[in-house]
Amino acid sequence: MDEGGIDVDALFERYGPMVLRRCRRLLRDEDEALDVTQEVFLRLLKQRHRLTDRHPSSLLYRIATNLSLNRIRDRRRAPVLPGDEVLHRIARWNDPDVPLLLARLFGRHPESTRTMAVLHYVDGMTLEQVARECGMSVSGVRKRLRGLRASLAETEAV
């Protein structure tokens, strides 16, 4: 595999622990977290052109979030709770049911919206910080999250 001059050993030495911690926190499964961590670096190597203008930590954190959410989605386990309570419980991150809730919550939304929601509701980033992380305007992020809350309201109404 062409690594494009990237020193993978050095990259993992510097960023690997951060990525693994992120995957552990979202997935709550050591084997899956380790597997996704490798996927994150593989994805970074494939998208190394994106490394040009930002610090790698920001990109790696976002890729780790996104791939972990994909893994949660693919578990296809039964949903747990409907409605706004879902978001409150996501914000209370220590709830052991959170991965299941995420699966239900984000199944119908684009990857980037899922990532924004986790950064905002779970990680506590402000809308401005989320916008900067995702390369969008604040109003764009707000609109996406509004759409997400609307679908949650629909879910609750059903």
């Binding site: 595999m1 690594e3 993978v8 050993d9 050095a10 990259l11 993992f12 030495e13 510097r14 960023y15 690997g16 622990p17 951060m18 693994l20 911690r21 926190r25 050591e30 084997d31 380790l34 597997d35 961590t37 490798q38 996927e39 670096f41 593989l42 190597l45 494939k46 610090h55 790698p56 930590s57 920001s58 954190y61 706004d84 978001l87 409150h88 950064l119 905002h120 509701y121 990680d123 506590g124 980033m125 402000t126 809308l127 707000r142 999250l145 809350r149």
Partner: protein
């Protein structure tokens, strides 16, 4: 739920991570620095991250992880064969082994059989005989020209490499036969390797090593470890994140 987070925003893990990496924008870095001055809990979180860094890199060394990432990139598809292919490539004798294996698996392990807590992957060794395959637990005696059949049993999704080392220090690679990365194992019943293995006249012992992990890793790392003196308990000198199962057979002089 309100989108905006007003007032003094708590410092998130993502900010601490980037603070440590010195990759926070200047304004946020200043905010974190100020908070650290008066917030003991925040300092404790930062210290915990530093400790976690050390633990992670000790369990998953950058060299090993980078090799696995490279290997994964080089081979996008799993290296395992589907069960139907296995059945087609092994003969009647190996099917007999499959029938025998579950019985042998219930036996207590030999004293010098190396196992680790939480082992999900086991190495099985059999001697092909005229009547039926003979299970060879660690510590069994074998002779030159005995034909041994290796098999594995995995109870979870795992990737593995199987090698052997003889009394002359010669390393033989059994699984995967080719390729740079560990083979993806089929979980469930014991799976025999496609080829049996005739022992040569190397003296003293034949040591078989199965090295497994939850994610792909480089075969070369296992070959290098096998060529070096073993660590405690006949384990290969590899990071503790690897599962290992070792079977040592005693080599009797040829009659």
């Amino acid at each position: 739920m309100n989108d905006e987070r007003a007032g003094s925003t708590p410092i998130g893990d993502w900010q601490l991570e980037r603070f440590r990496l010195e990759e926070l924008p200047a304004e946020e870095r200043e905010t974190v620095s100020r908070a650290l001055e008066h917030d003991a809990a925040l300092r404790a979180r930062l210290a915990e991250m530093e400790r976690s860094d050390g633990d992670i890199l000790a369990s998953h060394p950058a060299r090993v992880m980078a090799a696995a990432i490279r290997a994964r990139g080089a081979a996008e598809r799993p290296a395992s064969m589907p069960p139907a292919t296995w059945i087609a490539t092994v003969g009647v004798a190996v099917l007999a082994i499959l029938a025998v294996a579950p019985l042998w698996m219930t036996r207590p392990a030999g004293d010098d059989e190396t196992r680790v807590k939480g082992l999900t992957t086991r190495l099985l060794v059999f001697r092909q005989g005229a009547a039926a395959p003979e299970p060879l637990p660690s510590g069994s005696s074998v002779r030159a020209r005995d034909v041994v059949q290796l098999a594995y049993q995995a109870t979870a999704r795992r990737f593995a490499v199987i090698v052997s080392v003889d009394g002359r220090g010669v390393v033989t690679r059994h699984l995967p036969k080719d390729g740079a990365q560990a083979a993806a194992l089929a979980a469930g019943t014991p799976v025999p390797l496609p080829e049996a293995y005739e022992l040569d006249d190397a003296p003293r012992f034949e040591r078989f090593h199965l090295v497994a992990a939850a994610a792909p890793f480089a075969v070369d790392d296992v070959l290098a470890a096998a060529a070096a003196p073993p660590a405690a308990g006949d384990r290969l000198d590899l990071p503790p994140s690897f599962e290992q199962h070792t079977v040592v057979l005693r080599k009797e002089p040829t009659r």
